[in-house]
Amino acid sequence: MTLALAVDIGLTLLVLAVACWTLAVRDTFTSVIGFVAYGLLLALIWVRLAAPDVALTEAAMGSGLTGLLLLGAAARLQNAKNISAPPGLALRWVAGVLCALVSAGLAAMVLLLPDPAPTLAPAVVAHLPATGLGNPVTGVLLAYRAIDTLLEAVVLLPALLGVWSLAADRDWGGAPRLRYHRPDGALTLLAQVLPPFGIIVGIYLCWNGADQPGGAFQGGAVLAAMWALILTAGLAEAPPVSRRWLRWLLVAGSAVFLVIGLAGIGFADAFLAYPAGYAKPLILTIELVLTLSIAVALGLLIAGPPTRTPS
């Protein structure tokens, strides 16, 4: 057994163990911590599978931001006692058995997949020079399948509106408040020390995404996490949701993407096509603005609905 194989088996067992532990613990906060650890371990597995872009996304979005959201939810649940009865033993058994069956079926099907797997990877690499990009994943996300990325960015807007719509009518136009506890020294210190580094990492992930692993969603997620940290520590206030500049920031990424895409009908040969020679600068422009919009949208998703009546 090689060392690499031993590491892989160890990682797999660890992921399974953490997953079981996350499900088994009674305390919500502990469970969320388990979930975050699980996501980070999963990111390591993606690294082992030579998929660094997926690893970055899993760490930033799956583990980091989702973890923050879950922590927020857990904090809010603490104040609300006995919302509903927990599901009965029979229901839990049925759910468990169903999940086990689906997992077993999936595992069987994955083993049945053809080997070598049919793949578009060679075609993706072959056409990459036309886009001027070095990272094939960015080629897929912003050239070949740009429509998916554009609409994924748009999906954040109804999702955010959905969160905002939970506000009380009188609070509309006010600001969200994201403070679970009285901020203590450690949190304040963290919120003062970490963001400068986090912001550099976020910008680096975005800027570097054209040629190295990274991109708008990962960069935006790191920036959003830094913003959420500052808000949680109470070092800054979230802006009121009715601010015009905030709305502009939210839609800027999708709007720039859409306008450049439409310009493709006239200046290139199709919607979402880039004129020859201008692909890379245009893609970088889209990624930069998109990072900003994604960061603002994700940060506001964590901040929650407006809870302060506008003055």
Binding site: H127, A143, L161, L166, L250
Partner: protein, 514 residues
């Protein structure tokens, strides 16, 4: 730009999305205006799309970014897409007019919560639906489903009451469960065949375990989003609790999007898997939905819940088309002569036309019914069926619209619902499957039963005068009547729609393969 009709596909997609971005930025009372101004433009695009598809007598295809599948993503509009895009803009446009004053910001007042969210979400919903009907790529379709889910759910709990929040949360759980299963299936298909393009998949998918697994996962996921029995639990509280304008769109259009994808999946992406057993299973669930939904509708005490259970039942009819298109006697077939067998099975055009007509006429009828119920509830302050006696005297236009829409649901001539059910009945006789004919007829009787419960006292109640709490705007009644008339008049256009449904069917193209 308009020389090439395939540009219409891009326009149909971009228009609502651009509207969403604009509405979010300018906000306030302009959000509603933007939505209302874009709707006639969208209608023009949809009409031009239908005309272009008929003129081309083939599907319109647009390779996004100039990249051909499998590397790129293609938009594709066949007759079916064109019909649904036109239906969507018609229903959304009517909803917009109906909701104009309900969700407005008064001049000089700050923006309100519902006035921004309703219009922005309506535009997002419209864009998502158009993408569902146009995209020819399984992953883009997943993005479309996400956009649809996240726009639809906040509409359910727009009034912010605890009950509707719970209904919205339940809807969210079912919808996300469906999304996950759909995505898993799409990933398996990519792993097995190396493409997500529906056109390419149709030639590649073979009846083998991985394809079956993917088909099962995706179908169950989409069934949860369509609220097909037995995954319908989320629908009645969600559709009954939403504001009337939102209920109309949710019941008329949103659940049809996932159903449309089930049809795309089985007939276009994986025609090799479509066999009589799978078709009978899907139709059995549909039949159970018709009977179960209708019986529960009979027992409801509130009008909006009755209409919501009626949706559960009417969705069932759409699943009856599967065995009518894939006949049982064609039996099990070997993979080698698959396509010749399939050519023999895909002959039942009356089943296709009946199914599409049922979907479209139900969309108009159900939108009219929910809006009528909304007007009744608004004017009386309640929607208890037991206390609707003689409401026809006070709100004649609304009750007339409700009755006309009900006529279409029951399948009385000359309505669109009648034509649809007649075509489906014809198909059951043609294919010798009398048991489905019994279900169609029984469902019609039950529908008559639960609508009679509402209409008989409303029209012939003994109360001499009904006092209304709030007046009802005449133009809103006219919108409801127009929708109801559409569902009735569809009974006369069926011959024209007959050919349009068949234009650009992928299964037909698949016949040419060895």
């Amino acid at each position: 730009m308009m020389q090439d009709p395939s540009n219409l596909l891009v326009l149909a997609l971009v228009l609502p999305v651009a509207g969403l971005l604009l509405a979010l930025v300018v906000g306030g009372r302009y959000a509603g205006r933007i939505a209302l101004w874009l709707m006639p433009v969208g209608l023009a695009i949809a009409v031009m799309l239908v005309v272009s598809v008929i003129r081309a007598d083939d599907a319109l295809v647009y390779d996004l970014g100039g990249w051909m599948p499998p590397l790129g993503v293609a938009l594709r509009a066949d007759g079916l897409s064109a019909i649904f895009i036109l239906t969507t803009v018609a229903v959304i446009g009517a909803t917009g007019i109906f909701a104009r004053t309900e969700f407005r910001t008064l001049p000089g007042q700050p923006e309100t919560r519902t006035s921004l969210t309703f219009w922005a979400l309506l535009l997002a919903l419209w864009g998502a639906l158009n993408l569902v009907f146009l995209s020819n790529d399984l992953f883009s379709l997943f993005v479309a489903l996400e956009l649809l889910t996240f726009s639809a759910i906040p509409l359910v709990c727009l009034d912010g009451r605890a009950g509707t929040l719970a209904a919205g949360l339940r809807y969210l759980l079912f919808a996300l469960f469906g999304s996950v299963l759909y995505l898993l299936g799409a990933v398996l298909l990519y792993g097995a065949y190396g493409t997500l393009d529906i056109g390419l998949l149709s030639g590649l998918v073979r009846p083998e375990p991985v394809a079956w697994g993917a088909a099962a996962l995706m179908t169950v996921g989409l069934m949860a989003k369509t609220a097909l029995f037995p995954l319908h639990f989320w629908l009645p509280p969600a559709h009954a609790g939403a504001p009337a304008a939102a209920s109309a769109v949710l019941s008329a259009l949103v659940i049809k999007a996932s159903l449309f994808l089930i049809v795309r999946l089985w007939f276009d992406a994986m025609p090799a898997l479509m066999n009589p057993t799978a078709a009978q299973v899907l139709a059995t669930l549909g039949a159970a939905a018709i009977l179960f939904g209708s019986v529960l509708a009979l027992r409801q005490a509130r009008l909006k819940l009755l209409i919501a259970y009626s949706t559960v039942a009417q969705i069932g009819y759409l699943f009856l088309i599967f065995p009518l298109i894939v006949r049982p006697e064609s039996g099990s077939f070997a993979a080698a002569d698959l396509y010749t067998e399939l050519a023999a099975t895909v002959v039942s055009t009356s089943a296709w036309s009946g199914g599409v007509l049922q979907a479209v006429s139900h969309a108009f009828a159900k939108a009219a019914m929910f809006m009528a119920a909304g007007l009744i509830a608004q004017s009386l302050g309640h929607d208890r069926i037991a206390d609707l006696s003689s409401i026809g005297r006070a709100l004649p236009i609304t009750v007339l619209a409700f009755a006309l829409a009900g006529m279409s649901l029951m399948g009385l001539p000359p309505s669109g619902g009648f034509a649809a059910k007649w075509l489906l009945l014809t198909a059951t006789i043609e294919t010798g499957q009398w048991w489905w004919a019994l279900v169609i007829l029984g469902g019609g009787l039950l529908t008559g039963g639960y609508l009679f419960r509402v209409l008989a006292p409303a029209l012939f109640g003994s109360r001499q005068s009904v006092t209304l709490r709030a007046p009802v705007a005449r133009y809103r009644e006219v919108v409801v009547l127009a929708l109801a008339l559409c569902s009735v008049l569809l009974g006369f256009v069926r011959l024209g729609a007959f050919d349009l449904v068949q234009i650009g069917r992928l299964a037909k193209a698949g016949m040419g393969l060895p």
